[in-house]
Symmetry: C2
Subunit: 133 residues, 2 copies
């Protein structure tokens, strides 16, 4: 929650993640921050409504990213309606994780151990595991 929004954006970018799982101070997963939400936060609303207005912005995407995300925390950029965190237990089998992901049509699943975030499995990562013989 308190992590810098710029660091979160860097994490999404570096690991090419569709989203990251946000935890409270105790390590419990509380929300998902989709990469598209961070993009949303960088682009002004009037340009979202009419992308042809992008030309009137007299600063680069890089400048806007630094300006809009700098000094902000993850809490500041979360969507108003928090997305539930689809979670699995660290002891679940790959098929159980796949079943949860399939039912919720979620691109990622938080893996929880002792009530704390233990890791994240994306749909593509799960397919990679399933296809590896």
């Amino acid at each position: 929650m308190g992590t810098s929004a710029l660091d979160a954006a860097r994490m999404l970018a570096e690991h090419r993640l569709p989203g990251i799982v946000v935890t409270d101070p105790s390590g419990k997963p509380v929300a998902v921050l989709p990469a598209s939400q961070v993009v949303r936060f960088i682009v002004p609303a009037y340009v979202q409504d009419d992308p042809s207005l992008a030309g009137v912005l007299n600063e680069s995407m890089a400048d806007r990213a630094a300006e809009k995300l700098g000094g902000k925390t993850v809490r500041d950029v979360l969507p108003e309606h928090l997305l539930n965190v689809p979670a699995a237990d660290a002891d679940d089998t790959i098929i159980e994780v796949a079943a949860i992901m399939a039912r919720l049509r979620s691109p990622l699943i938080a893996v929880v151990k002792d009530g704390k975030l233990h890791g994240v499995i994306t749909a593509s990562r799960l397919l990679a595991a399933a296809l590896k013989h």
Copy 2:
């Protein structure tokens, strides 16, 4: 559309994509196949409804993946309700692409040139471009 579903799953897995853009024979983008949909296709419906039943499956996820995807095409595994393909033009600026992505809350955008699929930009890829100074 006619690509083997197993090849599509391998592509999603190898490049860690949240989804792939599906084209018709002319190269025009017609649908998005999310990675979670492929997972959905591999897991039996009764296990999706009750993941604790995963234990009754007497085959591995790898065997199921090969069995359920083998001999199928991408068309066979697409969701019944096709997702619209959010598209941008190859000449659009990064801010225009970001604006389209932000408005549609989409994790990926198909880049189209002369009516044909030219490439795909994911939200995380766009953040990577925006953060690189």
